[in-house]
Amino acid sequence: MAMQQADIEALIKAAMPDAQVTITALVDDGDHYSATVVSEAFRGKSRVQQHQLVYASLRGRMGGELHALALQTSAP
């Protein structure tokens, strides 16, 4: 069961309303994406903590429905 780009974006924005999200498919199979996320929520956090915020917003789908999400995160 794969995920649609819009679903991923919606989940991230639900957790981080100010986030600017850009998603591209790495492979056209619905579970390999890369995403760039810019949000104030990341300010002062380490890369690991920033990525953990994004994974948390995906509510458990990361590693299951969504096999790969290469992340680039930063504060504005």
């Binding site: 690991v48 953990q52 590693g63």
Partner: protein
Amino acid sequence: MTNPVFERIEGEINANPVVLYMKGTPVFPQCGFSARVVQILSAVGVPFKGVNVLEDGEIREGIKAYANWPTIPQLYVKGEFVGGCDIIMEMFQAGELQELMKEKGVPVSA
């Protein structure tokens, strides 16, 4: 009540300076992301211990809970979680991975 899987993990990451939890082995990685981290560690010239999570279901799930990180590979340096594939790539390209190894006193041959 301590978690036996977490204890196994802690034993591993404290017994070896650099540990990579990966799919497959350093010689035969079985996942593109794991293979990429193996290549980076070789480019930086860091000896490391590869743990093949495909051979140990308990560790495969336990390591995700341990680091609160949902995917494999996972790199540990001196007992600390450093990141998954994209963080290691970003650090390598910025020269931060080499810096970290020096800081932690991990011998680097490259």
